[in-house]
């Protein structure tokens, strides 16, 4: 058996950074192997999901469907129950459509998928290997497939599940003590983590040679959130402090290491493999904090609930899970990462919220008010785009989506804190998500040195199935970018549209998350820049 397709995910990778790291700046490129893939392959910008966020974006990449169809819209799903809101974590069971891992498996292909978020618990029909991302080390065994894989990994030299998996506590500590030294340490922590994922990928490639080998490196996103100032080429100007230069070097060490991993995997996969690299979204600089619930309060759309002066009250205030007086709240933002506004509609007797027949006029007024949030100095709108959900989340999951999706002028994530002022300049530039990620193809049948027009993130799943020699399901929104492939290759391997995917049933119920866990996830989101 030989591996036919190699997919390397790089969470948050952007050409803004990669073009700099692959160019010959002074001493030569930081990522020389990636530079050779650029020269020998085809690349394009990759347009992310309407809200360019890890959960909806990776799931769209892995399903070929947009978030309104697959239903994974955020890290945390909120459900209103009377006077309280329950928060639940999304997992693979919440995805309403079929993953490419399952599609490939039922078509006789063996796959390996490492570190992809929202793949736990693994699908029962998987033919191959899966070690999901976003799973604490204590639960890796249960979520690893097949059942004997975890023990095989444990036998690997230097295998360390604590190093491999997400460490909520470490990230929470880093949040509490984010001194310069701690930030440096926090960046360093991702080097061995990626090494662990690389070693598993290398092992499976060597020992099992699955038809599709896929691994995701998420340190790119984490570093860029915390250390954008030291990575973005546009920020490397003027007099730079010793600390800045040291952080820059540390980040470059990370990217140099990543380049080595890519080289080793591509080399190990052999000359006949088609290689694809992609990110779930791009990155850019955010310069201001926008406290959207504070603005909605000013406009009379929501009322804060008094926070009791107790330990629980303090925790609630710190976590800032929209703690509101529901009887007097009509529109609010649930989570910073959603960048959305939910309108509360009273659908049955006893519910609070607006009347259903008022929905359209209420939404029109709300949009008008949001447009009025302007920079007092320049008059520029702070919220540059306001999308209604039927435009950006069409599909079976639309009802779970926020009523409005906001795009801020600096692409930042909103804050939901009860704090003033509504708009405040950040003390230091931070990294945030940009809709333009990256998509790169390399290998037999792929054009050399081409830059093609921007593709959609749903196209990646279609492309991977095509590369495996499979039909693209007719209900995929993603399309194979034929401009990426040579004419000869397309003639020998025509793109075929085939049978529809297997649609999964909707979950019957949901499990809830305890307060401590919400806090941990929130701390993590805060570290990643989704919260103020």
């Amino acid at each position: 058996m030989t591996t036919r397709t190699l997919f390397i995910g790089m969470d948050g990778a952007t050409f803004t950074v990669l073009n700099d790291l692959t160019s010959k700046n002074g001493e030569g490129p930081v990522m020389p192997f990636l530079a050779s893939l650029f020269e020998g392959g085809t690349r394009s910008k990759l347009f992310s999901t309407p809200n360019p966020l890890t959960p909806p974006a990776w799931v769209s990449l892995m399903t070929g469907r947009s978030p309104g169809h697959h239903g994974v819209l955020d890290f945390i799903r909120a459900e209103e129950h009377g006077e309280d809101v329950f928060f639940t974590l999304y997992d693979s069971r919440d995805c309403k459509v079929e993953f490419i891992w399952s599609i490939a498996s039922r078509n006789g292909k063996r796959v390996a998928a490492l570190n992809f978020p929202f793949t736990a618990p693994p699908p029962a029909d998987l033919k191959g290997f899966m070690v999901p991302g976003f799973v604490p080390w204590r639960h890796l065994r249960r979520n690893t497939a097949p059942s004997d894989l975890y023990d095989r990994l444990k036998a690997l030299e230097d295998f360390n599940p604590k190093e491999l998996a997400w460490d909520f506590e470490q990230e929470k500590q880093a949040l509490d003590l984010l001194t310069d030294a701690d930030r440096e340490k926090w960046v360093s922590y991702h080097l061995p983590r990626e090494q662990q994922w690389f070693k598993i990928a290398e092992f499976l490639l060597r020992e099992e040679a699955p038809d599709l080998m896929a691994v995701m490196f998420d340190g790119v996103d984490k570093l860029q959130h915390q250390a954008w100032l030291y990575i973005d080429p546009n920020q490397q100007v003027g007099e730079l402090s010793d600390y800045h230069l040291r952080m820059r070097k540390l980040c470059m060490d990370y990217f140099r290491q990543l380049d080595g991993f890519i080289k080793s995997l591509v080399t190990a996969a052999g000359p006949d493999v088609q290689v694809f690299l992609a990110s779930d979204h791009g990155f850019t600089a955010t310069t201001e904090v926008v406290r959207i619930n504070a603005y909605l309060h000013e406009k009379g759309y929501l009322k804060w609930k008094p926070v009791p002066e107790t330990e629980e009250g303090k925790r609630r205030e710190d976590s800032m899970f929209a703690y509101l007086d529901w009887a007097n709240t009509f529109a609010y933002c649930r989570t910073p990462s959603s960048n959305g506004i939910n309108i509360r509609v009273a659908r049955k007797p006893g519910d609070t919220g607006i009347k259903p027949e008022e929905y359209e006029s209420f939404r029109v007024k709300l949009i008008a008010d949001l447009k009025e949030l302007k920079d007092p100095e320049t008059g520029e709108r702070i919220i540059t785009q306001i999308h209604v959900r039927e435009d950006v989340f069409p599909g079976a999951a639309m009802e779970d989506a926020p009523d409005l999706l906001l795009v801020l002028r600096d692409f930042g994530f909103v804050s939901i804190k009860n704090k003033q002022p509504v708009v405040e300049k950040r003390a230091e530039v931070a990294g945030t998500h940009h809709p333009d990620g990256v998509f790169i193809g390399y290998g037999p049948g792929i054009k050399r040195g081409e830059m093609i027009e921007r593709r959609n993130i749903t196209d990646v799943g279609a492309t991977l199935l095509y590369s495996l020699g499979l039909d693209v399901p007719v209900d995929f929104e993603g399309r194979v970018p034929d401009a990426m492939f040579t004419k000869d290759h397309l003639a020998a391997h025509p793109i075929k549209i085939g049978a529809a995917t297997n649609i999964k049933g909707k979950s019957e119920d949901s499990s809830s998350m305890a307060t401590d866990e919400k806090d941990k996830i929130l701390a993590q989101l805060q570290m990643l820049g989704y919260m103020e």
């Binding site: 618990p121 204590r138 065994r141 499990s511």
Partner: protein
């Protein structure tokens, strides 16, 4: 996941909990049993409880609505015994079958 026909909810919870904690380097004085407390005896954090809920839902092939067990009078419970979980699962399954 193999399950004998006669396996009770308590046996299933014990088996799944034992499977869950096997790599946790715990120094358990006794085997996991009905009176074992998740937090006090097995060092469960809330994320572990969520994972246990997922594992049980996977085992029974349906979601079980664990918020009803985890929340009492608007507050989250501090700890849970194996028996409490087993009784909850049994009641949910009975209700679903009724």
């Amino acid at each position: 996941m193999a399950m004998g026909k006669q396996e009770t909810a308590e046996q299933a919870v014990i088996r799944i909990v034992e499977d869950l904690v096997q790599d946790w380097d715990l120094s358990l004085k006794e085997d996991v049993g009905g009176g074992t407390m998740l937090v006090k005896d097995l060092t469960f954090a809330s994320v572990d409880i969520i994972q246990l809920a997922v594992a049980l839902e996977e085992h029974y092939g349906r979601k079980l609505g664990f918020q009803d067990l985890l929340m009492v009078d608007g507050s989250y419970v501090g700890d849970l015994s194996i028996v409490q979980i087993a009784n909850f699962v049994e009641a949910k399954l009975k209700r679903a079958a009724a």
